[in-house]
Symmetry: C2
Subunit: 242 residues, 2 copies
């Protein structure tokens, strides 16, 4: 089954959580962000899909994955699909439900990270909402960051398999996403995340283990991995870093 | 299998999406919000669960549903579980994935509704972030509200079953949630939602049909249904209503 990933070019964004799962599973896929526009890729290809009036099940926004004729949207939903198909989730439904629950909590966390630089409007530039961004980021660093990281640390700590992973004995898609969040936090908030991650050593080590996995390491070192930058979710604005 | 729903007392909040599914499915459940504290219910019962150090799979926040010994958290994840078990979702995996995708888009929408009155910090009062809330609400009404509602209207319109529902021929949990969102928008933004819903007649009529269903109508008229109020997600602050 051929997979095509649709996500905006030039940023990791939410598409990166899907890419990490595809790379770890060693599934071949076409990444529309890397296909030149003149060959039918890039942003115009995404807009054409979003605006296709013949699509009876249109996604609201990227990322979405084309699987045969089906479009699967919403990051956590795509990962749920990939996890079940490509051995990146537990086999029992309780384990799958728990993995998905954690992924949805990561999605909430990521939305809050995004809102630190866009607290008033996603359609306006950061520069137009700087004072509000400072307030929101201050609250994020003081309250939300330690709350989320502390929670995920407990999840690893209490995993009965004591595997250093979040669920069960083996790696799942939620470990890949968690490692990506740690990497993003280190980029966006070098000061605040250093201090916060000191209290969550299991997450720091989960990050290292994920990015040391052969396929992930190869991908991260490749040209396919877009660098963090200030157009994505995780942005480095020193004035927001506590 | 006995179900117990854990959600904060006094507000509909995200718990209401779960309640509507349980009510429509006619599944018996204990609603911890309605159990007095002296009988082991209310907020202390929720906090005790969240802080239980023996729980290897703790939820991050309410709502969560206790099913036997398992705790299922994240609204959309709970609904995915209930939908499959109680005939509130399609039988085929494509249909289930699509229903879940729509529910996750509703979750994003609901988070943006919440942020209209709490753009800077969830841990501070509305009164402490009024000017920012005005800006965020203005953007919400001008851009996000019509974008989301227009999207969901198209979903109903393009449903090949032409059932007036969002997915397939029969009602699913996402129809219940959509109707609840319409009700919430009418409470919170009477002016802006009246104008927006004029362009989305299928959603307006979906709302009416859902709340006319016998079990939902009975529930909505009962004392179990908490009224909308200014402690929940949907709050009526006239200064935010365009």
């Amino acid at each position: 089954m051929k997979y095509t990933l649709y996500y905006w070019p030039g940023i990791q964004g939410r598409g990166e959580f899907v890419r990490l799962a595809l790379e770890e599973a060693a599934v071949p896929y076409v990444d529309i962000a890397l296909v030149p526009e003149r060959r039918g890729g890039g942003a115009p290809a995404i807009s054409a899909m979003l605006e296709n009036e013949d699509e009876s099940r249109p996604p609201f926004a990227p990322p979405f994955l084309k699987v045969g004729n089906q479009l699967i949207g919403q990051t956590a939903n795509i990962l749920q699909f990939l996890g079940a198909r490509h051995h990146l989730a537990p086999r029992d439904w309780r384990g799958r439900s728990w993995t998905h629950q954690l992924q949805l909590t990561i999605a909430d966390f990521v939305a809050e990270v995004h809102d630190t630089h866009h607290p008033l409007s996603t359609s306006r530039y950061y520069d137009e909402q700087k004072p509000a961004a400072r307030k929101r980021a201050r609250d994020f660093i003081a309250n939300r960051l330690p709350k989320y990281l502390g929670y995920f640390e407990r999840v690893v700590e209490r995993n009965p398999a004591a595997s250093g992973c979040m669920v069960g004995a083996d790696i799942t898609y939620v470990d890949l996403s968690m490692a990506q969040v740690v990497a993003g936090l280190r980029y966006a908030f070098p000061k605040a995340s250093r201090s916060a991650l000191r209290s969550t050593p299991l997450l720091a080590s989960l990050h290292d283990r994920v990015f040391a996995r052969p396929r992930i390491a190869r991908y991260a070192a490749s040209k396919r991995r877009i660098a963090f930058n200030n157009d994505g979710i995780f942005r480095r604005y020193p004035e927001l870093d506590g």
